[in-house]
Symmetry: D2
């Protein structure tokens, strides 16, 4: 960590500040230039409170040199983490597709789509029982009934299920859910993250609309620090000035995350683009950039969907995406991954 001091600092105050750092177990290297004095703090700075240093009247600026996350950091855990049980592994050479509708609507819908996506090659079934909607007047999901229908579809198809949690008060309802999703709007709901750290279930953590890659890793760190090592990261598009697409898929984030962390990284091409015709090119780009999997919205009848129908594929489109001549199976094989 680098601490840049204001011009002409009082020397006795600088000495006092250096003592404060030394008392925290850090060693301090002092560089004095004509315009600038700099302190280099060396040691474990992940627990240093950068805000407290900034408030010191001697200090002009503070910059981290090493990453503020530890448990998520590939530097300290070089080997890829694999999340998920046999046949449903995510990470390290496995390429895993999660598919299903935005919202759970009925048993028939769920069983139909579960069987269809399984046949096409998906390894997990997704579906929303609790739906975060911008408007209080929009459909909010079937809640407990939705989870029940997901479990029915799991029984019928054999596919493990992924569904979103919106509050730690609902955790009991998620006892038989295989992967708990934290949505983009809750990526920094720290109370929820802490509770999920006490679980051992795989957590699918979606990047916030305007969260940096580092903030995503810090949110993962909340879960990991709580004792739960099973975190899957998901890039789902960020908010930019561009309005031609619903969000802007940050495909670079996949490559940066794969370098910075050992956790598996998947991509959501459905929410990124916001329209069905963009799912295919964005899914292709994600595979090529090194993603460990995809989460894709599939609905048996998108035009009657209660939510996000515009971005859902129907079952035939999904099968084409998976198994077409240059579909995802062929691409995963080209990248030397198993799907």
């Amino acid at each position: 960590m680098i601490v840049i001091l204001k011009q002409n600092p009082d020397r006795s105050m600088v000495s006092a500040l250096i003592e404060v750092f030394r008392a925290q177990g850090l060693s301090v290297n002092l560089s004095e230039g004509s315009h600038t004095t700099i302190l280099g703090l060396i040691g474990d700075t992940s627990v240093v409170d950068i805000d407290a240093i900034r408030a010191n009247p001697l200090v002009a600026d503070v910059r981290r040199v090493s990453e503020p996350y530890k448990a998520a950091n590939r530097r300290f855990h070089p080997a890829d983490t694999i999340v998920g049980g046999p046949g449903a592994e995510i990470g390290q050479g496995h390429f895993t597709v999660i598919a299903g509708p935005c919202s759970v609507e009925s048993e028939q819908q769920m069983v139909t789509v579960a069987n269809a996506v399984k046949k096409s090659g998906a390894r997990y079934l997704r579906g929303g029982a609790f739906k975060p909607r911008t408007s209080p007047y929009a459909f909010q999901g079937l809640h407990e009934e939705g989870i029940r229908l997901l479990l029915e579809a799991k029984r019928a198809s054999g596919l493990p299920i992924v569904t979103e949690i919106m509050s730690e008060t609902h955790l009991d309802l998620f006892a038989d859910v295989d992967v708990i999703q934290v949505g983009a709007r809750n990526m920094q709901n720290f109370q929820l993250l802490k509770e999920l750290g006490h679980s051992r279930k795989p957590i699918l953590l979606k990047r916030g609309l305007s969260s940096t890659i580092e903030e995503l890793l810090m949110s993962a760190e909340y879960i990991l620090a709580g004792g739960n090592p099973n975190v899957i990261l998901c890039e789902r598009g960020i908010r930019t000035f561009e309005t031609a697409t619903r969000n802007t898929l940050d495909v670079s984030a996949v490559a940066v995350l794969k370098r910075q962390t050992h956790l598996p990284v998947i991509v959501d091409p459905s929410h990124s683009g916001g329209v069905a015709w963009l799912v295919e090119p964005l899914a292709r780009a994600a595979v090529a950039a090194g993603a460990d999997g995809l989460i894709i919205e599939v609905h048996p009848s998108p035009k009657t969907a209660l939510c996000d129908g515009a971005q859902s594929l129907d079952c035939d489109q999904f099968d084409e995406l998976m198994n077409g001549p240059r579909g995802l199976r062929a691409r995963a094989a080209f990248e030397d991954k198993s799907l």
Copy 2:
């Protein structure tokens, strides 16, 4: 609401679509051009699910013409809403300053700062007991003990208190809190918003880092639709490409909100700029743009603060900001508001 159809749509399918809209109580106006066919939907479109329409294979695009919020809409409620009891009103000609430290740290800190900011003219005491921190390793607040200390300071100073809630599971602890704050990261924690809609306490709702003005109003709508009319909106800076300031204060949002909604609008100059020397110019700009109040971080000793010290004023700086020759009191008077 405008529905733009794809080129050369099938006429019988268009007729069927029009019938669907009519069945929802809307009247439909059809415009056919050489390249474009447009449906104008007339009536109460706030309950129409825009996503469902977009998924229809006939539809190229859908655009709202009228605002999706109703209870928060000044069009339907022209008179300004006043939130807060006698002597502590926010809105409609009252200019109200909320001040106090980022985090509650000790009884002495809280009582000192409460008495100081009251003397300088603040009407509410703020202080964080539950702190949303990016890092799990940073100070997270004193929790219950923090609320107890806030209540001590309230008793000692007579100032009503404002503090942030991070989970609906903590609501019992907030029984004696005067104003409950929803932080920027929880602006779209819809489960929390729904619970707060069942309360009658004033809710201070902060704009998310990358939330649009319309999304802020939709989050207010969640609380209002639940039955709680006491919502105060807070602009606290948005995330942009600029890194010279911690966030970018969107001062235009104050003017836009005052036009679009009847709810009071305050500004947080401390989090917007992220450094103490920016508080004064941003506070001045907020008053000039028409804000109904400010929330300002004040700490008796910023350089020892456990959180956000860099952006905190000390008690003397706050007094200067309030009562200096061109301070906030003089400015509020210039704008014909009472402070």
Copy 3:
């Protein structure tokens, strides 16, 4: 085009406004709702001045329904445009790689790199003679001498050359340049675009750092409208809040552009990511998303480069990228394109 009127407009003024539109050859469809009155303008609205309409006191808002670009619009020109002569075509099934250093530095550097990239499969040599630099104190390029050295390298290698123009006053110097590049910072230098519209040379038009896809197409329209049909579009990363990468590659823009326009679309993975190790994953993603080519920085000795060395590959890295087991040649073939 949709014109949304303010509430309760004066009917005689509405009639007058409708007449104004009819006088421009448009037909007008009037929809009156309880809260909203809407005019649908039907006909060729690309010449309608949206700002002038917005200024009318009756008007609340105006929204385009059809695209404001015509010559660049795939709707009116469905077939792909191919730019470049035999052996160096860009577009429609050809996949073309442009490679070379950020700045032209010496004859030896240019001849070395030209021969190397040609051998690896590049079809064009790039190199900057005029360099747009944020700082006036940074190296600004060799100017005329730089173009002379590019032409030497063209003679030595047989590769056609691509180089950036910074002012229309330099056009004479570009007489023997094969493709003229317009940099991101000049994407809306309309005076330069107009002059390039009078040329017949291929123009490589880079997207501005914060330009929308529609603005990029409107800038292409300037060149096309001037009579020059040879425009290549280039996505090179946009500016967002994320600081982990130099820019954010908008990979969706490739797919959107390929749908909206008939012009070829290439990607610059070097400037997008800003570091050499991101070139490969971003290049892979670009191919997968449907790009017609890439422009990649290659320097014989990146660590001594006078400009942007951090993002340059050396010749061996470039050869590996092109011809490695899952390199760009294999990828282009997988996508059924010739490289």
Copy 4:
């Protein structure tokens, strides 16, 4: 400047790198930690090429500590710069309003508006003769004839004139123009900036839509380094995700610029908000934040304007803004500035 090395660097290569820096006249301070090795470069680093350092295989990252601009830096030139002649000074206690239409349209329009804005208190007349328009089909300005009409209005009213240049090839036409404006889209047209550095005319430099404050200062540095000390900076709104306003006025930029540079800083509330009703609150906020002046669009008949009518005030609205009970004159006086 801080150079952060990769883990476990080769010691002899580090020594060689240190020698390279010393050869540039810098002194180097080496800090070695368990995970990180850091070099602190001390001396005049404004000429160090940060990209070249980044490309070195030893280097993980480089961060500037001191600002890269010198001539524009208040640290080296503490006193405020005043631009403009007697009666038309901008900066240091003068508050100056520039007003006039977006586009020059006719002699009558210009003379009418010039006399009106002068009477209301404006000190400069603005008007566009060369108009940067996104669409090649939109009105592009009257060019030479426009400048002739501006000069007519200058003669009739006595007001000095401000107008935008779009190419250095037009400089001869600007011989009698008092202040030359560089538009937001040309803020990084470095060839134009260099030419304007050879002039002695005041240059009004507008911030680019997505340019950082530092980039704005670096563009000013191009003009200053060329020998022209007369630069006025203009904040005119930046591009963000928010669509409720045309741009987002970055009011913090005013305060940051006033601290970082000695150059005068004005604000354009017309382009920031994009609608007439936002001009007043944004103008008020700009005065309060410490701006040295404003540039405001005024048109005798906004609804017939050929460009940007929606954001123009008419002459009565402008007079009210200037001279109303809490108008700009009263505000400037409140801030102890002369207008």
